[in-house]
């Protein structure tokens, strides 16, 4: 105990080299090498970088430091000792904007399990699609619930609008997915096999109305996932019947519906649905029956909206050409896949797929890729059913799983897989967001009562809905720098 302190007193120093991948905070070449005290920690290093002689940032930017692919969490001296290195080692420190823990901000109570969450904000996709029609500051949160209702909340947690019940044009069963198409349009889908497009109007900023405008029929099973493209007004759905639906929200261009799928098509239907509000009923632009097990998610390519990716419980990821409706390529993994998100990258998107085997596998969908699975994100203890990419960058994502946690992953922090984990590289979560409702309680077995069903990540925050009938909002900005 005496030894290290005495060394520190004598001013043991470590030679470090600062590097970064971020252009805006590059250090001049001459200042990159520095001798720092051995007992310095992250905070000290961050202050050194922020000092006038170094970066001269006006407002201090908190930095984190990556040493050999892992974040520096101890003093330099302890790190060196822990890794059996000498004090003379020249350490290369990659500095990144520090991760601010995704602290809990708010919870919105629901009547039933929350199965779908989406955000309308200036930075969200829907906000961008609606462009000038979006009023700044009027951020809205959309939630779909197992009680079949859509709710729209403002940022302070007040319900602004609720969708009508099934008798009045609403969903007749649980909603499984919902998305803002724009600031005035919402799409939702659920176990009643229909996609509904709603018109959302606000009289003032505290009351609004959701009116069904379009009912899209075509799936023969529960629709588990829904992805929208507000710019082209296209909807992509994945259903338990193994098909991927491709829809349009425009009444005029949508094809006619197949009458056999309409409710009440069977003469002996026990309950007549007498809907006071009638919405137009339309069919799909394309119904791609591509999977032979329930399709669990489908997403658009972030760059090319005519390309989609879909995953299924049949272990495959399929690249779909939406214009021709053909399967371009099929990648087979070793586990049933339950969720999907596309992380935009320069060349081709990186697909993150959540599996029933409690991990997230990152897949390069290009046909030229040598390995299917690029990386595995391990840490969840239950099915990973929801994934969302970071709004800020292309190397972090959040995953929601049935174990009642959301995990934030930094794809830059990588280690090689151990033998049990198989080949490839593995990452571990940067942050774990527990359910606030489980605070102080014993960890639930198999996420019983606190499953997360949906998660979105916007600059407003990380919104997750789950079995605890809550939308939980965590701070989402600068979580991963």
């Amino acid at each position: 105990m005496e030894q290290p302190s005495s060394i520190a007193e004598h001013g043991a120093q470590v030679k470090v080299t600062f590097t970064t991948t971020e252009e805006d905070i590059q250090l001049p070449e001459s200042k990159r090498q520095l001798l720092v005290p051995a007992d310095i920690r992250r905070y000290g290093l961050s202050r050194i970088l922020n000092s006038e002689t170094m970066l001269d940032t006006g407002a201090a930017i908190p930095f984190d430091f990556l040493v050999n692919g892992s974040f520096l969490r101890t003093s330099l001296e302890d790190y060196l000792q822990g890794n059996g290195l000498s004090l003379e080692t020249n350490l290369t420190l990659q500095y990144v904007r520090s991760l601010i823990p995704p602290t809990f901000e708010a919870s919105f109570e629901h009547d039933d399990w929350v199965s779908a969450v989406d955000v309308l904000s200036a930075t969200s996709a829907a906000g961008r699609w609606s462009a000038d029609r979006f009023q700044h500051g009027q951020d809205r949160i959309l939630s779909g619930s197992y009680d079949g209702l859509l709710r729209i909340w403002n940022a302070s947690g007040q319900v602004i609008a609720t969708s009508p019940s099934s008798g009045h044009g609403g969903h007749s069963a649980s909603i499984k997915a919902a998305r803002f198409l724009s600031s005035s349009q919402v799409a939702s889908a659920g176990m009643d096999r229909t996609v509904k497009v709603w018109k959302y109007t606000e009289s003032d900023h505290f009351t609004g109305e959701l009116k069904p405008t379009l009912e899209l029929y075509g799936h023969t099973g529960s629709i588990d996932s829904l992805e929208v493209d507000g710019a082209s007004k296209r909807i992509l759905t994945a259903s338990a019947d193994g098909s991927v639906g491709f829809w349009t929200t425009s009444k005029a261009s949508a094809p006619e519906v197949d009458a056999s799928l309409l409710p009440g098509a069977s003469s002996t239907k026990r309950r007549k649905i007498s809907s006071s509000v009638t919405a137009a009923q339309r069919g799909p632009l394309a119904m791609l029956v591509v999977h032979n097990a329930p399709a669990t998610a489908a997403v658009f390519d972030p760059k090319d909206r005519t390309v989609a990716y879909s995953v299924s419980q049949d272990h495959t990821v399929r690249t779909l050409d939406l214009t021709t409706g053909l399967v371009v390529s099929t990648l087979t993994t070793s586990h049933p896949l339950l969720s999907l998100c596309a992380i935009p990258r320069a060349s081709a998107p990186l697909l993150a797929a959540g599996t029933s085997a409690r991990h997230v596998t990152l897949i390069d969908p290009r046909a030229s890729a040598t390995t299917t699975s690029v990386m595995t994100l391990r840490g969840h203890t239950n099915k990973v059913v929801s994934l969302a990419a970071s709004p800020d960058n292309d190397y972090s994502l959040v995953s929601g799983a049935h174990d009642g946690t959301c995990m934030i992953w930094d794809l830059r922090s990588v280690r090689p897989a151990t033998k049990d984990e198989g080949l490839g590289s593995v990452s571990e979560p940067a942050y774990i967001i527990e359910r606030e409702s489980r605070q102080g309680k014993k960890k639930a077995v198999a996420g019983d009562g606190c499953k997360v069903f949906s998660v979105v990540w916007d600059k407003l925050g990380i919104f997750s809905g789950g079995e605890d009938k809550k939308i939980q909002i965590n701070k989402g900005r600068d979580v991963v720098a």
């Binding site: 176990m191 099973g221 529960s222 799928l261 069977s266 239907k269 099915k383 069903f453």
Partner: protein, 776 residues
């Protein structure tokens, strides 16, 4: 003696032969004479020369003698020495040469060595020359002429010119006495060695030589006389080491020296043999030999290399221990051992080989009354025959490590995937969940429990999406989906009723819903049209009816009422038939229902034992019925019993047939899990006892994964890897891979039912604690 002999010889030839010369020559030098004899005949001159040589030779010798004692010359002027005489003779010859016939004279002088003189009588007298015997000059004993006058005083010869005679009778002349002056001088100047005495023998003054003086001195000094005495003389060798050039013997070489020696031949043969046999090796320099030895590795031979361990005495096999003799062998056995008359008769009647005992106990009063053993020879013979025909054989006991007999089972980690943890808990049932089933599409789960409800759940999330209450007092004992995808029909049993329902939640399309309704409704028409089974008066096996408006609204469309409580439902793979088993139903415990005809048949009029469960074969038209102890397999087409399996369990609880159709797993209430290979045997291939409580359910995975599971009252589900090889000759591999713990044991009931997902390695289990769990 020698000179005399020579004289005689000389005389004889001198007289006999005209050429005494040759004798002379011979005398002088044997060798020279022999050589010169041939030449001397012709040439005189030559002879003369040779004579001259002779003379000079002898002269040389004589002079040597003279030199030996100088005093002789001085003292004896008158008496000429031999040399002088010779030289005188020579001179004489020369002198007389002119007077006498020189030739003759010359001849005589030169050849003979004597002079002829005229004696008194005028006769020729030969005066011979003094013969020099030529004694060895180094003979020290021959010291001049010895006076032989004997022991008389010398003074007797004072008046004579001589003083005595030598050995040859010649006068020894008195030495000339020197003149007075000389004597005086001599006396004054005493010469060395002067004694003043006169030698008796010679009459000369006796002077001592240096040696003698030295000798005298030494005697006087008391030293060893004579320094000639060498106390350390050289060894005189008796045998010379000098090799002679010429043999001393001229004897002819013996013949044997020219014949090959037999002995040597023998010795050589010995050597040859030794060389051939390698006992003698050709010579090599020691360093080379050493090098070769170094090159040759030292080779050691392990004599006991292939030695097998032997028993100390392999021939000894101990005889089996015979039982000790009993009382009945005694000569005086107790009364109860003695046979009765009937027994004896019977013994006598039976064939000797079939007799239980070879003897009959007999009683004698005393040992001496025991007769001789009449069967001695026979028994000896039989003993010998035994030894000959049935010798004792040592039984080889197998000594095998029991661990090596265990099959090589793969590690569970290699057998992934299989379910490992709970991933979803389905909550909602009140009381036990008695049955659970996953629908053919793999998205929903149906369950039935003690609360009389049937519930349908979303598989992954655990959301209940449909439910119906079938009965308020009877538990739902079984739920089973119709195993086809073209319909969505669930069969559930509550009490004596079997309900067929369409749990048509929102995800069921109207088409599917309608198709299912059509399937269920089809039989009503049949029932009304063609007066089905059942002779009038006889109670039908089951009553098919609509369950009533309330249930029909919920989707329950048909109620089948059988005679007793139904515990098990199993569908045929095509979905048209299903079987129900009511263990308490006696005769009608097993029923086969035909959906399309709304018909129920009771296939067995009589069953041996209580039927527990029944199932259709997955591929062939076979029907399996399990009673408490056995599983019977019937052919449905031929209507006959095909096979009876006897698992050996005391009370079978459930069984399942492998999708391949050739294997069977059986669970029993006595905690046993048994694997039957139907082709192999009626007995189980493998018995596993891993549970501490009764096994309720066993179930194969039907989606192509080699998995099966059993559920037990101890609250666990055990997952097994059970691979049935395609090759008929190989045995199935059965590896327990996982024990799933999670369900609580309530009232000694744990897990009551389980089912596998149709594709994935997921299973659901129904617990007595009111939950259903999804394991993946």
């Amino acid at each position: 003696m020698a000179p005399r002999m020579v004289d005689k010889k000389r005389k004889a030839p001198a007289a006999a032969t005209p050429e005494p010369q040759s004798d002379d020559e011979f005398q002088d030098g044997v060798f020279e004479g022999a050589l010169s004899q041939s030449e001397s005949d012709d040439e005189d001159f030559e002879i003369a020369v040779s004579d001259d040589d002779d003379e000079s030779e002898s002269d040389g010798e004589g002079s040597g003698d003279d030199n030996g004692d100088e005093d002789d010359g001085f003292l004896s002027d008158d008496i000429p020495s031999d040399d002088e005489a010779i030289s005188k003779g020579m001179k004489d010859v020369e002198i007389t040469e002119p007077g006498v016939d020189p030739k003759v004279e010359e001849k005589e002088d030169e050849n003979l060595g004597y002079k002829t003189e005229k004696d008194a009588n005028g006769g020729i007298r030969y005066v011979y020359e003094e013969i020099d015997p030529v004694y060895d000059s180094d003979d020290s004993d021959a010291q001049g002429p010895e006076n032989t006058i004997g022991d008389i005083p010398l003074s007797f010869y004072d008046s004579y010119p001589h003083i005595g005679y030598d050995i040859n009778g010649k006068k020894i002349m008195r030495p000339a006495a020197g003149d007075a002056l000389q004597n005086l001088l001599d006396s004054i100047e005493v010469p060395k060695g002067w004694t003043g005495l006169t030698d008796i023998n010679t009459g000369n003054p006796l002077n001592l030589t240096d040696e003698e003086l030295e000798l005298v001195r030494r005697v006087q000094m008391g030293l060893v006389p004579g320094d000639l005495h060498d106390p350390y003389p050289d060894t005189v060798e008796y045998f010379t080491g000098i090799e002679e050039k010429m043999p001393l013997s001229s004897a002819p070489e013996p013949k044997r020296r020219f014949l090959p020696s037999k002995n040597e031949a023998k010795q050589i043969m010995k050597l040859v043999r030794a060389i051939r046999e390698g006992r003698i090796l050709p010579y090599k320099p020691p360093e080379e030999r050493q090098r070769e030895e170094e090159e040759q590795e030292e080779v050691h031979f392990d004599l006991w290399q292939n030695e097998e361990a032997q028993e100390p005495n392999p021939m000894h096999i101990p005889a089996p221990k015979l039982p000790p003799p009993g009382y009945d062998l005694s000569y005086n056995p107790p009364q109860e051992y003695l046979p009765t008359k009937e027994e004896r008769e019977e013994w006598e009647k039976t064939d000797p080989e079939e007799r239980e005992k070879e003897y009959v106990p007999q009683k004698y009063d005393a040992l001496r009354k025991v007769p001789a053993w009449d069967d001695l020879v026979k028994s000896r013979f039989e003993r010998c025959m035994d030894l000959y025909l049935a010798p004792r054989v040592r039984k080889n006991r197998l000594n095998i490590d029991p661990n090596s007999l265990l099959p090589k089972l793969p590690s569970p980690s290699e057998l992934k995937p299989f379910p490992t943890v709970t991933q979803t808990i389905f909550r909602g049932h009140v009381g036990r969940v008695r049955s659970v089933a996953i629908d053919p599409s793999g998205t929903t789960v149906a369950s039935g429990g003690d609360d009389g409800t049937v519930r349908v759940w979303e598989l992954l999330t655990g959301r209940q999406i449909w439910s119906v209450k079938l009965s308020s007092d009877e538990p739902v004992n079984a739920v089973r989906w119709r195993p086809t995808k073209d319909s969505f029909i669930l069969a559930a049993a509550a009490g004596e009723d079997v309900f067929l329902m369409i749990p048509s939640h929102a995800s069921v399309t109207p088409t599917l819903d309608q198709a299912s309704r059509d399937i269920l409704a089809a039989g009503f028409g049949y029932a009304t049209n063609g007066q089905q089974h059942g002779e009038p008066g006889k109670e039908p096996a089951a009553k098919w009816a609509r369950p009533g408006a309330r249930l029909e609204d919920e989707g329950v469309l048909i109620r089948i009422t059988v005679r007793s409580q139904v515990k098990v439902i199993n569908w045929h793979r095509r979905g048209d038939h299903f079987t129900t088993v009511s263990p308490s139903g006696q005769r009608s415990s097993v029923a086969i229902h035909t959906l399309s005809k709304h018909m129920t048949q009771i296939p067995f009029r009589k069953l041996s034992g209580l039927a527990q469960t029944a199932a259709f074969h997955p591929l062939r038209p076979l029907f399996f019925v399990a009673t408490q102890r056995t599983i019977r397999c019937y052919d449905l087409q031929k209507l006959e019993l095909v096979k009876v399996c006897q698992p050996g369990a005391k009370w079978i609880s459930s069984f399942d047939i492998h999708p391949g159709g050739d294997n069977l797993i059986v669970g029993s209430y006595d905690k046993r899990l048994l694997w039957h290979d139907l082709d192999l045997s009626t007995r189980p291939y493998k018995t596993m006892r891993f549970h501490s409580e009764a096994i309720r359910t066993v179930r194969y995975h039907r989606g192509g994964l080699p998995l099966f599971a059993d559920a037990s009252d101890d609250g666990t589900v055990q997952i097994f890897h059970g691979k049935v090889p395609s090759d008929q000759l190989e045995n199935p591999t059965i590896v327990p891979v996982k024990m799933l713990k999670g369900h609580k044991v309530v009232n000694k009931l744990g897990v009551l039912d389980l089912d596998w997902h149709p594709r994935e390695p997921w299973c659901v289990s129904a617990g007595a604690d009111g939950t259903i769990r999804l394991w993946m």
